[in-house]
Symmetry: C2
Subunit: 205 residues, 2 copies
């Protein structure tokens, strides 16, 4: 809706971030609603012992931190620039005002947070009932939707580990295991899916 986009753009504040820079931290009062204009943002939780669980990798054009903006509570997670990025920030109060004026905006927000919740449910299922190998298989499968069967590597094993909730070595083992079984092939740059059927089978074990 054009009028709404315009109104949002008027109140939004742009912000530039260098790769690795922290945008906001979990537990702090809500930082506002963000949209990624360029680059990418990593939203994650950190455990005391330094492990990181990625909740979403926010691509260009997508929004994040809906939860705390909408319920007014503290940020549920930490946001860090995955690569250099520029984001726009919309204040909670402004957003609420605009949403009251434009019901379509309210519904857009509802749908976006519902999507988030749905995604979280599947993440819970993943962590709760799938092995690391299965989760890695799913992650790869997810990437094929974007890149096709030859995936130019965009994630380091360390990052893959943070996505699937484990550590680097275990991801490495899983990859080597899948490769040993002829399901995929990979080197430092690329993952190639050799047997999509079996990969799918591994993924929904």
């Amino acid at each position: 809706p054009d009028a709404i986009v315009q109104a949002l753009a008027d109140t939004a504040q742009p912000q530039h971030l260098a790769a690795g820079e922290i945008l906001f931290i979990e537990g702090e009062p809500t930082a506002g609603l963000f949209m990624v204009e360029t680059g990418a943002i990593r939203v994650s939780r950190h455990s005391k012992d330094g492990r990181e669980q990625i909740l979403q990798l926010v691509p260009r054009g997508a929004t994040f931190n809906e939860v705390s903006v909408l319920d007014g509570g503290p940020n549920p997670a930490t946001a860090i620039a995955q690569i250099d990025a520029t984001v726009w920030c919309i204040d909670r109060a402004e957003l609420r005002r605009l949403a009251d004026a434009h019901p379509e905006l309210a519904w857009a927000l509802i749908e976006s947070i519902a999507r988030r919740a749905r995604h979280l449910v599947s993440l819970v299922e993943d962590l709760s009932m799938r092995s690391v190998r299965g989760r890695v298989a799913r992650l790869i499968l997810e990437q094929t939707a974007v890149h096709g069967d030859v995936i130019p590597r965009m994630l380091t094993q360390e990052e893959m580990a943070s996505r699937v909730g484990t550590v680097r070595e275990v991801v490495g083992r899983a990859l080597r295991g899948l490769a040993a079984d002829g399901i995929i092939d990979f080197d430092r740059q690329t993952i190639t899916v050799l047997d999509r059927a079996r990969l799918t089978a591994e993924a929904d074990a």
Copy 2:
């Protein structure tokens, strides 16, 4: 808001369920928004090999299945009567109509789904970075908020296992371990917190 409650009550459909009865199943088209009038509902995901991960135990007065109602997608989880229950169902279309007419209702929905998302994030953190012992400790701690330090058992070990994402025997081990360390004491009916400080320490490892 009285007028709204009235309007909702007018369109809502009541439904009775015997303990163990299935209300709706994940993957089916949205079943509507529900509110528990009496009893309790268990919302969970099931893996192919029969394991169950409880997402929420819905008490009297609370609502569930917001996600699919708000985004129109399929039910993200399965709902089963934990004990005999009566629930009210509000159709998606009706709800949307009412929400458009009453912005306060729309915000109430937003807040309720934001709460859900927040809860899911903490569940993810639990599964991803805590040991079973830690999760059990957290579960017990959570109960003390309701019952105080002597918790009349309402969950079987099997159910506790479904909540913390593991199996019965492991929960038993965790409980025995905590008891052996003098942190709690328990028998078939009751769990007693002996050392709240150490239990907390176990919980946020």
